[in-house]
């Protein structure tokens, strides 16, 4: 009964957007470390440790922070060429060895039913620097059955190149966020957010080239050229419903994305977190993604040569599936240990509707994430 009482107190004290309440009223924070390992077949390998934490203090304040290092090794597609007849990706000869250091901090102050947050994020790698900040306001309404959120963010980035020391270009982005979270019943809630992004600056990928041969003329080698702006919308809806009799929770996320490059994308993730007992839980999940190609995507250079063109297959038309399984263990002292294994399969025939990009080369990858966290 004491645990239930404490759980109820935690639920009543917190706004609905910070629903992951811990059971013990004495807890004021949490710290954790997570390690990601990701490996593509024949291409890149990524290792990423993430250290994160959160703490509440002086009754009305909360701070969240994280720091991560990405270590990227392996090969990357650099050139798309039809030298063999059909356009294919050509892998760079030199092995990539990059490292990205990133960190962010977020400070929140509550004023009754209002809360204001300010955040700062920094990211640095040898060919890309990013500095950003965000402001977010939340308002709990209707006896905290409804929460409205509005946010503004700005990012000032610099694009560099390991191959071209003279490249030093800006990319500035402004973001706006509007959303609502609603309790639907004692066992269900939904959140829907719309984010709008306005980007200006350098979007060309300094490492991508398109080399096209013609039967009746000289070949053309063209560097990656993209528009100098990118405006996008992302509409994300998340639904959670707990089934007490089944000891499980349904988690559904759907995102619709579109931008002025002509890309339309749908992302759907469905997961079922099942409590095996008080200590163990499993979470099988399935993610599906599909996108239409950018207007300027082409694996070959047409004639006459256009001003903008990119053969990067990430801008093509394709789809992908990713099943995963997470195992969660609750140990003594509130310590949580989690492990996830997942598989990524991106292919042109997984594209939803319409025609997919013929030149898209199937990507297969596996990943694993392990993490441990504890309250304090």
């Amino acid at each position: 009964m004491a645990a239930i009482d404490a759980l109820m107190k935690a639920a009543l004290a917190l706004p609905i957007l910070v629903v992951p309440a811990k059971a013990s009223a004495a807890e004021v924070g949490e710290v954790g470390i997570t390690l990601l390992g990701y490996k593509e077949r024949g291409l890149m390998k990524v290792t990423e440790p993430v250290l994160w934490g959160r703490a509440e203090f002086l009754d009305a304040w909360e701070v969240r922070a994280s720091a991560a290092v990405d270590i990227i090794t392996g090969a990357s597609p650099q050139l798309v060429t039809n030298a063999g007849g059909k356009p294919v990706q050509s892998i760079s000869g030199a092995s990539i060895n990059d490292r990205r250091n990133t960190g962010d901090v977020r400070l929140t102050r509550r004023f009754g039913d209002f809360s204001l947050s300010a955040s700062r994020a920094l990211s640095k790698e040898k060919d890309y620097h990013s500095k950003s900040f965000g402001l977010e306001a939340r308002w709990d309404l209707n006896q905290r059955n409804t929460t409205l959120v509005a946010g503004y963010g700005a990012s000032n980035d610099r694009v560099l190149s390991s191959d071209d020391a003279s490249l030093h270009q800006r990319r500035d982005t402004r973001e706006y966020l509007f959303g609502v979270t609603q309790l639907l019943s004692p066992t269900a809630l939904v959140q829907s957010t719309l984010s709008v992004s306005r980007g200006r600056g350098w979007y060309n990928d300094p490492y991508k080239l398109t080399f096209t041969f013609f039967a009746d003329g000289p070949p053309i080698l063209m560097a990656d050229r993209r528009p100098d702006h990118r405006d996008s919308y992302a509409w994300l809806t998340r639904y959670r419903r707990h089934f007490p009799e089944a000891h499980g929770t349904l988690q559904v996320d759907y995102r619709y994305y579109r931008d002025d490059w002509g890309i339309r994308a749908h992302t759907l993730e469905v997961a079922w977190q099942h409590a095996l007992d008080e200590r163990w839980a499993v979470r099988p999940a399935f993610r599906y993604y599909t996108q239409d190609a950018a207007d300027f995507y082409s694996p070959t250079v047409p004639r006459p040569q256009p001003a903008i063109l990119a053969s990067d297959q990430r801008l093509g038309s394709w789809g992908g599936v990713s099943p995963s399984l997470r195992i969660i263990a609750k140990l003594e002292g509130g310590v949580t240990v989690e492990g996830t294994v997942g598989y990524v399969h991106n292919a042109r025939n997984l594209h939803l509707g319409g025609s997919s990009s013929e030149a898209f080369e199937t990507l297969r990858a596996v990943y694993g994430i392990v993490g441990i966290s504890r309250p304090f």
Partner: protein, 70 residues
Amino acid sequence: MKLAAWALAAAALCLAACTTVAPYQRGYLAREDMALDANPGFAKAIEKTFAAKEAASGGASVGGGGCGCN
């Protein structure tokens, strides 16, 4: 604008359709597996992994910054 109209319509429908949940009824809603943003370390790691391979990204927050991965 069409997208914004759909978002507002969905929000209005949601607000009209749901019932009020009293504070003492929120025990299940406080469960960790009901969280919209679960383990921050997992979320950061996996979101960035997918964002590096896909053209679409974002939706849940603002001010997160960019990376040279896409």
